[in-house]
């Protein structure tokens, strides 16, 4: 009797567990469907404004097309032309220089600013807002402000001529134009890094600093061995997006120098625009766009791959 009872109880328990499992599974499915239904409008919008044009751009990159009429298939010719074009390599090099300046200055200023700001007790919020302000200004306004600052007769040039250093035209000089324009981007962006790093700093355990101080660590050693490792994932993310922004830069260059003087500030973004809308070679421009996106994608993939391999980034 006991055996029968026990078997019956087991069967009931199994049935109960199975029913619960089924209920849970069904609820999960329902939730997934509901979530998907909520996502449908966004997916539809993305399909229309991102996926569709992206697929079309990839297709156009294999065609000869002026932007009007019917494109004709040319296979890999646009990519071959791109890789053998000195103009493209010059522009890509400028992107790299831009990345070094933008990444180096933004990150150094941003992290330093955040660490120093973390020590401030009074007026921290006001200072944080002040640093963040340039990031909220439209790029066209920021670029115009800096154009005036760099102006040879009204801005820096005038000041320098007053102290005896005449004829300084920053944006008109091949040597200085690219660093000068990329610095505008630094000025607009570093406040963002300050704010993000400050948020990251708050997650670092204060007892680690205390332990480091007891062990006799200097300020620099605390920064190097406690702060930096503590905000490493945030820094890695900031590095990735800064590199991506550098590879896709367009607005500051276009507004201030349009790639000049003599091509000194030409980047892939401005070259792409000129190919599409000045030389009417939309197929080649599409190849440039696809290549830039691919490089950005690789940077993103590298970041994901490193995280998956257990790197603390």
């Amino acid at each position: 009797v006991t055996d029968v009872l026990q078997q019956s109880l087991r069967v009931r328990a199994d049935q109960g567990a199975s029913t619960t499992r089924m209920r849970t599974r069904s609820m999960r499915r329902k939730r997934s469907v509901t979530a998907l239904l909520f996502m449908v409008p966004f997916l539809a919008v993305n399909a229309i404004v991102i996926l569709g044009p992206s697929v079309a751009t990839v297709y156009y990159s294999f065609t000869k097309w002026s932007g009007l009429g019917t494109p004709s298939w040319v296979g890999l010719r646009n990519y071959r032309d791109m890789l053998t074009s000195s103009e493209f390599w010059a522009a890509a090099t400028h992107n790299l220089v831009w990345t070094v300046i933008f990444l180096g200055f933004s990150l150094t200023l941003g992290v330093t600013g955040a660490v120093l700001l973390a020590q401030v007790r009074r007026g921290r919020l006001a200072l944080r807002l002040l640093y963040f302000l340039p990031y909220t200004i439209a790029s066209v306004v920021t670029a115009s402000i800096w154009q005036n600052i760099y102006d040879p007769d009204r801005g820096v040039g005038r000041f320098l001529s007053h102290i005896g250093i005449g004829n300084v035209a920053v944006l008109g000089d091949e040597r200085y134009a690219l660093p000068a324009v990329s610095f505008i981007n630094v000025w607009a962006f570093w406040g963002f890094i300050v704010v993000v790093c400050m948020a990251a700093l708050q997650s670092v355990d204060p007892s680690l600093y205390e332990a480091a101080r007891i062990d006799g660590a200097s300020r620099w050693q605390q920064f190097r061995h406690v702060t930096l490792p503590g905000i490493r994932p945030t820094l890695a993310f900031l590095i990735v997006i800064t590199i991506m922004f550098s590879l896709l830069v367009f607005d500051y260059v276009w507004i201030t120098t349009q790639g000049g003087p003599a091509g000194a500030t030409e980047v892939v973004g401005t070259l792409l625009y000129k190919e599409a809308f000045e030389r009417f070679d939309a197929g080649y421009a599409a190849a440039l766009g696809v290549s830039s996106t691919a490089v950005c994608g690789l940077v993103g993939l590298l970041y994901v791959a490193l995280r998956r391999r257990g790197w603390e980034v």
Partner: protein, 464 residues
């Protein structure tokens, strides 16, 4: 009252009124004639995107042109929306591709027309032009610019010419005369520099491609109309001697600081800044196009100075004076997909079909409404600024004698046009030799020809 009614003035006004009345009846006759010849009664709505920039010119466009056209063509509504000049070409191309373009299609010049025509996007205007005798109104060199494969598909508008604006007050102060040849130009530039005055105000910070004004002028005024014509029609290579010398001279003048006070400053200075230098007497002259008439008083009035305009000097012995590098800032066509083609063609006819009316627009608003018509001195209202009248009269006379130059944006095909203004910066910075530069222009030009972009170039000999 100083404005007394003299007999002469009375006769002028009476003649003007008589002409207005007769032109109205003539227009009415033209209107009825074209609508009956159109095969269908023109009607509906005509849409246009315009790049007229100044607020006062936009207001004038609405009152004088839109209302004027609608008054004269009952049943047709004209809807004009204004766009930024630098965006118009791009927006139009995108809209054409999306089949959402307006009825009237504007482009940046005749070089852009063949591509649109080949794609079947522009309506054939030949029947309308024949019925309305458009060729009788347009300047001979302009009449054929919009013809592709025998069909008229575009009408050039915004007649432009490059010349020299100078500060008349400054010239009077120092007893200077506008230079007519290279020797006079160089002497004047040297004297101005000695006095701490820039020979020419200038800069390309706002729009990098402004450097093409300079290539256009040096090609036209050094190489000359005949050489330029041969080069643009492929009879001579771009690397022909006078073209190379023209580029070398341009570099030499930049090196001497004639333009904008030196190359670096030129690259870093914007329009407002250098126009202020000209009006303020810090610069003697400025090399620019007739479009600046529209805005010049905004700089000279506050400076209480007078300005004037003349042709750029001839830079070589064999090149006549005066020459004007001609251009058209835009073209107008009718969208092949338009449902109001007859009405759209009527609108184009309204714009170019009456010299006196067009001359009045020109007198009232300057370059914003300058159509390449066969203007005669008597067409312009007596109230017109004499400097503007003199310029357009001089322009008509010079170009009728074959003394015409060629602007890059009107007569060079698209890739070559971009190469010309982009790579010349490398010549000026010393990174490229004039020979290599022109070799590159020639190769790009050939690339354009192979792609079907054949520029329509007026023959100076035929104009003479």
């Amino acid at each position: 009252m100083t404005d007394a009614w003299t007999r002469r003035k009375f006769l002028e006004r009476a003649a003007g009124t008589g002409f207005a009345a007769s032109s109205l009846s003539l227009l009415a006759a033209c209107g009825s004639s074209s609508s009956s010849n159109g095969g269908a009664t023109a009607g509906g709505t005509v849409t246009q995107w315009s790049d007229v920039t100044e607020a006062k010119s936009r207001a004038y466009f609405n009152t004088a042109i839109v209302s004027g056209f609608e008054r004269q063509n009952r049943g047709i509504k004209l809807q004009v929306s204004f766009r930024r000049a630098e965006d118009l070409e791009r927006q139009t191309r995108l809209a054409l591709q999306a089949r959402k373009a307006p009825d009237i299609i504007s482009t940046n010049g005749p070089a852009f027309i063949p591509e649109l025509a080949d794609a079947g996007l522009l309506a054939d205007l030949s029947p309308y032009a024949a019925r309305g005798h458009w060729a009788d109104d347009l300047l001979p060199w302009a009449a054929d610019l919009g013809r592709v494969n025998g069909k008229l598909v575009a009408i050039p508008t915004q007649l432009e010419a490059l010349g020299v604006y100078y500060n008349q007050s400054l010239f009077d102060k120092y007893g200077w005369k506008p230079p007519k040849d290279r020797a006079e130009l160089e002497a004047l530039a040297a004297e101005a520099q000695q006095r701490g005055i820039l020979p020419f105000a200038g800069g390309s910070a706002d729009l990098r491609q402004q450097i093409e004004w300079y290539t256009s002028v040096f090609f036209s005024h050094y190489a000359g109309p005949t050489v330029m014509y041969d080069v643009l029609t492929g009879k001579q290579p771009w690397t022909v001697g006078p073209m190379v010398e023209a580029v070398a001279l341009m570099k030499d003048y930049f090196d001497k600081g004639y333009f904008g006070g030196g190359l670096k400053k030129f690259f870093a200075t914007g329009g407002d800044a250098y126009h202020a230098q000209l009006a303020g007497g810090k610069a003697a002259m400025s090399m620019e196009g007739t479009w600046f008439f529209e805005r010049i008083d905004t700089f000279f009035s506050p400076a209480h100075a007078e300005w004037n305009f003349t042709a750029f000097p001839s830079l070589r012995k064999d090149v006549p004076y005066p020459i004007y590098a001609l251009g058209t800032g835009s073209t107008l066509s009718v969208n092949e997909a338009s449902k109001s083609k007859d009405a759209a063609a009527k609108y184009i006819e309204f714009l170019i079909g009456d010299r006196k009316r067009a001359a009045k627009w020109l007198a009232d608003q300057g370059s914003a409404f300058s159509y390449p018509l066969r203007f005669q001195a008597g067409d312009f209202p007596t109230t017109m600024d004499h400097r503007l009248r003199d310029v357009y009269a001089s322009l008509a006379e010079a170009t009728s004698n074959g003394n015409l130059g060629y602007t890059n944006w009107t007569f060079s095909p698209p890739r070559a046009a971009v190469y010309i203004y982009e790579k010349v910066e490398k010549v000026l910075t010393g990174d490229m030799s004039p020979e290599d530069y022109l070799k590159g222009v020639g190769e790009t030009f050939q690339h354009d020809l192979d792609a079907g972009y054949k520029p329509r170039v007026p023959n100076p000999a035929a104009s003479a």
